[in-house]
Symmetry: C2
Subunit: 474 residues, 2 copies
């Protein structure tokens, strides 16, 4: 009953959802604002015993969550009063920025001890965030085997399967039966992963030849050979990127998968709980990149860091806005004669920008889920063009009529209507082609797409509208 | 070796990744464009045997993927040649739109038979997409128990845990030990879920009192009582929304969780592979909604459906753009005298729109992951305001200088610089407060946020810039 490192959420003797004197979690399983305030109050008062009382029954994931809600000053106080075991289990759950900050405050011997409690993948994730000198001291203070595991893990590239995998894995030779396997698990419990879901069947070279889900093992008689139960496995190579790993897990509903080295030998496993985090990370990156925000920004980022991440995109946007302004400047003479054009031109560019963003979001998403590739790219593009045309045929008459009535000039109404249709076709084109091209060139299709799309629809919106107006109205 | 309904991807005798005469999957595990073309060619030629050869070794997830790449005409041909088993397993994997289309083409007796092969949650997901009369005929053709399970599942709200759960579940009474449990699993194999990861320990009222991961069961001696191994479980209520379910799974790294009815009795389970799909669906909704696209749009949507989903948002955008135009119209006199204002004003609004979108994306994401609540809302808002101010202090001098040089009027430079700083403060304010307010009012913070944010930054961008110019320059 004392092991808290499990799939379940809280120590058995004190379920956190209804801890007696304080309710930490709301009905939606998120920390309540009032609980966070209690922690802040206790930290302000320097009331260590009260803090410990509030914290000790929390799940590590909730402690990590709590840290995100606190200021850096309050975090410093809280870390001092966290029981060491809980601190160790909280570390892998923290946001990167907060983890770095917390790690600077933990003595390296405490840390070396805490890391030994973690599975190899979690320990490596923590060590990779340490400063070089701190990392050396912490590793030096760890037993040889743990150190070797972490160092080998760090030898793989960041975000690769090798870095993310758990080295503990349950493998069984091809000639075993169900009984052999269960006996082995019972006797070797210590060296096996804390939790596992599939047993990998390996040949004498330690290459996986199949896998057996343990629920299937459990329901079969002891005498059944593994070779009869096993099914093919999706091998993951140590060099594969996390995004590909997530795709395979999602597509085939995998719970775990074996990881193999360059020669095909079993070296570890990936489990779906890690994949869930990868998926959330990738989705977060997509949303932030589409908006021109650095994916390194998180809730613990300082104002200066945030500005450093966002200003470059605003700078790019400033530059593209100047290009748009340059187009308008070409038509200063026209505007001087018909000021109404200055009033109406942002309408043309705004609709174009919005329509382009719609097409962009759909395309980026389809690329991310691999629903879009060379075989349907052309069809997708044509479909977006048709959508743009139809959008235009719905909106342009409305706009043209209103503009004509307001300006008392039906030719101006016709000009804005035509410009809107044309700009919606431009929007459809850049909305689809920008991410497709970036993806073809092996760039992330989300990065900078949105700035480029709106810049293009602004530029052509002004050019088409003012150009048509100059031809028709002057 | 013949069971393909498993965590593993392909029938053992013919791993799909290297099917002899055609390579269906690329190195990234996605279908290759050349394979899709082969299928299209075979469908065009009406070559059924060749189609069957191409398709029969595919994993259901790959068949579903393939369907997404095809046109409706080609899908009709492919469905005819899919082996019935494979068709059944493919149905739950299809996009909603494509599934509805395919279901219309499958005779109801074939369908009734196919559905019996599926787990209750998958069968219900398919049945919910049937037209009313087709649904009745299909249900009528199914055995009583299967029909009852599906009907009970459909009795729960869409996207609720009750609808999504699997009714097959492995429960054990509190007084059993490891040996009792394994013996039960071996003898009752048929009634248990195809795959399970945790055993739920229940009291005599059938209420869950704990859970045992089966890897833990496996490593314990037969005499160990379950009460010694079990840990607390995160109960999910049948009425909980899928988004909350996903949050709990992700936060606590759950692999499975018991679902209980209103009286707390165990009625089913949710497993992480379903949750992965929920997470992807929620993320997809967020990205699409932020861009003003209906989440019902998918790759099988027709042009008319797409336009119907997108035009309303463009209409809203048109309305807000007219508000912006109305502001400009107030200053027609000013623009008449200084045309340079018409040239420069879109720069002020564009930067504001982009900065607002950055803040919006960060806030929407933080709300989705519950990193933002009442306890840090104020702090987040102030931080965004500071970021806006600093962004302004970086970009405004640059812009002001350039505008001053171009117009040969340093006062105009000062006006655009000041307007930019003020509009960046507006952007920071609406970027954070819009999603926060929507969320407080229990609306989805992503919906319509982006249209409202850019409308506000356009409106105030024009108002501040032209207003200041009128005061300072005239």
């Amino acid at each position: 009953m004392t092991n808290t490192d499990s799939v379940f959420s809280a120590p058995a003797d004190n379920p956190e959802i209804e801890t007696e004197d304080h309710v930490a979690l709301g009905e939606d399983y998120a920390l309540t604002a009032s609980f966070v305030e209690k922690v802040v109050d206790a930290a302000d008062d320097g009331d260590g015993m009260r803090l410990r009382g509030l914290l000790e029954d929390l799940h590590p994931a909730d402690v990590a969550d709590l840290m995100g809600f606190l200021t850096a000053e309050h975090r410093t106080v809280v870390v001092q009063w966290l029981p060491p075991d809980l601190l160790a289990e909280t570390l892998p759950e923290l946001d990167d920025g907060i983890r770095e900050e917390v790690l600077e405050r933990v003595p390296h011997l405490t840390l070396a001890e805490a890391l030994q409690e973690l599975e190899s993948d979690d320990a490596a994730a923590v060590v990779e965030d340490l400063e070089d000198d701190q990392r050396e001291r912490v590793l030096a203070a760890m037993p040889e085997t743990d150190r070797a595991a972490i160092e080998s893990s760090l030898g793989y590239e960041e975000d690769s399967a090798g870095r993310l995998m758990q080295r503990e894995v349950m493998a069984a030779p091809l000639f075993w039966n169900v009984g052999d396997t269960i006996d082995h698990v019972r006797s070797q419990g210590e060296d096996l992963p804390e939790l596992f879901f599939d047993i990998y069947v390996v040949d004498p070279m330690n290459k996986p030849v199949g896998g057996v889900a343990i629920s299937r093992l459990l329901r079969s008689p002891r005498t059944t050979p593994l070779s009869e139960l096993m099914e093919p496995v999706n091998e993951i190579s140590v060099t594969q990127d996390q995004e590909e790993v997530a795709y395979v897990f999602e597509k085939y509903n995998l719970i775990s998968a074996p990881v193999v080295d360059a020669s095909g030998r079993l070296v570890g496993q990936l489990t779906v709980d890690d994949v869930v985090h990868i998926i959330q990370e990738e989705n977060r990156e997509d949303i932030l990149r589409l908006a021109g925000v650095s994916e390194e920004e998180d809730r613990s980022s300082g104002v200066i860091d945030i500005v450093r991440g966002r200003v470059p995109w605003l700078g790019v946007n400033l530059f593209t806005a100047v290009l748009g302004a340059a187009v308008i400047a070409l038509f200063e003479g026209t505007i001087q004669q018909i000021v109404a054009l200055a009033v109406l031109m942002p309408i043309v560019s705004a609709i174009g920008g919005n329509a382009g963003t719609q097409g962009l979001a759909v395309t980026v998403r389809a690329l991310a889920t691999r629903e879009l590739n060379a075989s349907n790219a052309m069809r997708t593009f044509w479909r977006e063009l048709m959508v743009g045309l139809l959008n235009g045929l719905v909106l342009a008459p409305l706009t043209g009529l209103a503009a004509g009535l307001w300006s008392q000039d039906w030719r101006l109404g016709a000009v804005i209507g035509a410009a809107m249709i044309l700009n919606l076709l431009v929007a459809a084109t850049v909305g689809v082609l920008t991410p497709l091209t970036l993806s073809r060139l092996k760039f992330d299709p989300a990065v900078s797409s949105s700035v480029f799309v709106t810049a293009t629809t602004d530029f052509f919106g002004f050019l088409i509208f003012l150009g048509l107006a100059t031809m028709v109205l002057l």
